[in-house]
């Protein structure tokens, strides 16, 4: 049994930008930086034990997805039961900042969050979304659909009201 793994550096060169965007979108800029570094350390720890190199990107993002899950658990534990006040990220003032969107993304359950980010932010096919989340392709579609519906409800409540009234 011997698998030829590329130098870990090439994974960083190819995926660091996307990995960082994914985590900042999923957990916010500050915790995103922490999760990003934790993902690299965890990946480096596990790397020599890999038995195949078929989908290293998927493997890397699965580790990142688990960091998002851990982060969501921690946030839940520390959250006050009364008021939910999601951290509002500070964005550079290019006039296109979309803090409202990312704050909303962070209220999604982690599987939906990761599925939506992989599908749309990173433009990945459903097969890849499934590989990252660790589910079937059907379940990946379902997670993307459910996540999107939830975002729509959070971001456009007036429309939801129009429908109900």
């Amino acid at each position: 049994m011997s698998v030829t793994l590329p130098p870990f550096q090439t994974l960083l060169d190819e995926h660091a930008v996307d990995l960082h965007r994914f985590l900042v979108a999923s957990v916010g800029p500050h915790d995103g930086a922490d999760c990003f570094q934790e993902t690299i350390v965890s990946a480096l720890r596990a790397y020599p034990g890999l038995t195949h190199a078929d989908n290293l990107r998927g493997w890397l993002f699965t580790i990142a997805h688990h960091k998002v899950i851990d982060h969501a658990r921690r946030s839940k534990r520390h959250a006050l039961p009364v008021a939910e006040t999601p951290e509002v990220p500070v964005f550079d003032g290019d006039g296109l900042a979309d803090a409202e969107l990312w704050a909303s993304v962070r209220v999604l359950p982690p599987k939906q969050r990761t599925a939506v980010m992989q599908r749309y932010l990173l433009d990945r096919p459903y097969a890849e979304v499934a590989a990252v989340v660790g589910c079937s392709e059907d379940a990946a579609r379902q997670n993307v659909r459910a996540g999107l519906a939830r975002l729509r409800a959070v971001l456009t409540p007036e429309r939801a009201q129009e429908v109900t009234s």
Binding site: P7, P48, R152
Partner: protein, 221 residues
């Protein structure tokens, strides 16, 4: 456009995430310099943490020198590679022969970088860093160890080295050992010439060999 489509478009744009807005042709798929630098700092910080946990098997960097860029790599045991050649090939080689945990971590190469600077500035005649010679085995290793005894400013022939290693007829094998020397310059294969003084070959190109020999005063003109 429905609200849902609008949300998808906003997700795809990824505005404000600290990298370039997707689809902006002016940045051509690259993060703007400032953001790139910040990301580089985050990666470097993560690698420093990994290094503290002994998770970096091969630390690597590239050093610009008068004979061109040199890829430098070290394991916890010592300097394992000083290579001319293409950076990607050097890394692939290290990944398959030492460990795939190869990352850019210049701090682990500070000592050898400083000594190389001094050597190229004419202020150092011998290198004093631990070597990890695991990329060489058997007779090649014996030849390279013997070669390390040849001092600054002197040259030997392939035949000399063959004799000094107890195999007077092994000049060709000595040539192969030189051609596959993993630790160029520090293990001075540039000091090996053909019998009679012809230059022979050099992995870093003959121009580099000539430059190094002139620099050491071993070749005049």
């Amino acid at each position: 456009m429905s609200a849902g489509d609008d949300i998808v478009a906003r997700l795809r744009r990824g505005t404000g995430l600290g990298a370039h807005p997707a689809g902006d042709p002016s940045v051509n798929g690259r993060a703007p310099a400032g953001e790139g630098a910040a990301l580089g700092d985050l990666v470097a910080g993560a690698l420093a943490r990994a290094d503290a946990d002994d998770l970096v098997d091969v630390a690597w960097t590239v050093e610009d020198t008068p004979v061109g860029p040199l890829a430098l790599a070290a394991t916890p045991l010592g300097l394992v590679r000083v290579g001319f050649g293409h950076e990607d090939e050097v890394l692939e080689d290290l990944a398959s022969h030492v460990s795939p945990r190869v990352v850019r971590l210049p701090a682990r190469l500070d000592t050898v970088r400083r000594q190389l600077d001094e050597y190229f500035a004419g202020r150092r005649r011998r290198f004093d860093v631990p070597l990890d010679r695991r990329l060489s085995r058997g007779y090649r290793l014996a030849v390279l160890e013997e070669l390390s005894r040849v001092p600054f400013g002197q040259t030997v022939s392939y035949k000399d080295l063959a004799e000094r290693t107890g195999k007077p007829n092994a000049s060709r094998a000595v040539g192969t050992a030189m051609a596959t020397n993993p630790i160029a310059i520090v293990v001075p294969c540039h000091r090996v010439l053909r019998t009679g003084g012809a230059l022979g070959g050099y992995g870093g190109g003959l121009e580099s060999k000539v430059w190094l020999l002139r620099h050491e005063g071993a070749l005049l003109g």
